[in-house]
Subunit: 154 residues, 2 copies
């Protein structure tokens, strides 16, 4: 079955383009990326900080089944409500480096929207390593959770 | 004459590797990127803010001969003294997008050092547009100014 979240990765490039259409208005899908309580729910993380503004930053923490903590963090270069987030992203303590991420939000109708994620890695090799992780299924499941969670709030 | 600052740009890639050796100790060359008064001198800019720390940010402003102001800004993802700066960079109000920049500082001896700049663009096309600017000469001149300015402080 085709996943609703689609990942486009061309051979030899150091970037990914990820797209997803949501049965949610653009205001709600944007909230899923900037409001700490909503982020905590769909990502299953502890939100240590989330300053969703130009020149802000964020840090999230998950606990795996063995009780180990993993932290994800970065800076927020720009944040334009309902339109765009430009941020850096790092899985702390891993060799995957720092990514530049450009998220573009679009209303398709009053009740549907599209998220386009442009993710740029430090190298082709690092991008390809990330693609070896259970990344495709993971991001699709995460986006499904956003939809389930926020559908109730429509 | 070969420029001291060397730019390595492979066809079809969305990144640049820039290297420069300085007749300055690594402590001084690192200062040239994190201390506002030194940045102001070699870049010829007004430093509006420069929070040289993990999850900090910066904004610089230049005035051109016609009196027009140009702003450059970004976030500082990470800042490790004498070793590394990871930041975003944007020429505000231009179509060049946001860059991810990884600067690595290395001591070559007590009095010499090397700066390696890895600059990653949103696309190959944007990188190639930046290379059309008088970029090569500009960055070499700027690095020469750092050397002249800080040689007096050795």
């Amino acid at each position: 079955m085709e996943l609703k979240t689609q990942i486009h990765a061309k051979d030899g490039e150091q970037e990914l383009h990820i797209t997803r259409q949501f049965d949610l208005p653009v205001e709600l899908i944007f909230k899923a990326y900037v409001e700490a309580d909503i982020v905590a729910q769909w990502m299953g993380t502890n939100v240590i900080k989330l300053e969703a503004k130009r020149h802000g930053s964020y840090q999230l923490e998950t606990t795996d089944p063995k009780g180990n903590k993993h932290r994800f963090s970065g800076t927020i270069h720009d944040c334009t409500p309902q339109q765009k987030i430009i941020r850096t992203f790092e899985m702390e303590g891993t060799p995957f480096g720092v990514q530049l991420e450009i998220y573009t939000f679009e209303a398709l109708s009053e009740s549907t929207s599209k998220l386009s994620m442009h993710v740029i890695y430090e190298s082709v090799a690092l991008r390809d390593q990330v693609l070896q992780l259970p990344f495709k299924q993971g991001i699709n499941m995460a986006h499904n959770r956003i939809e389930e969670l926020l559908r109730k709030q429509k």
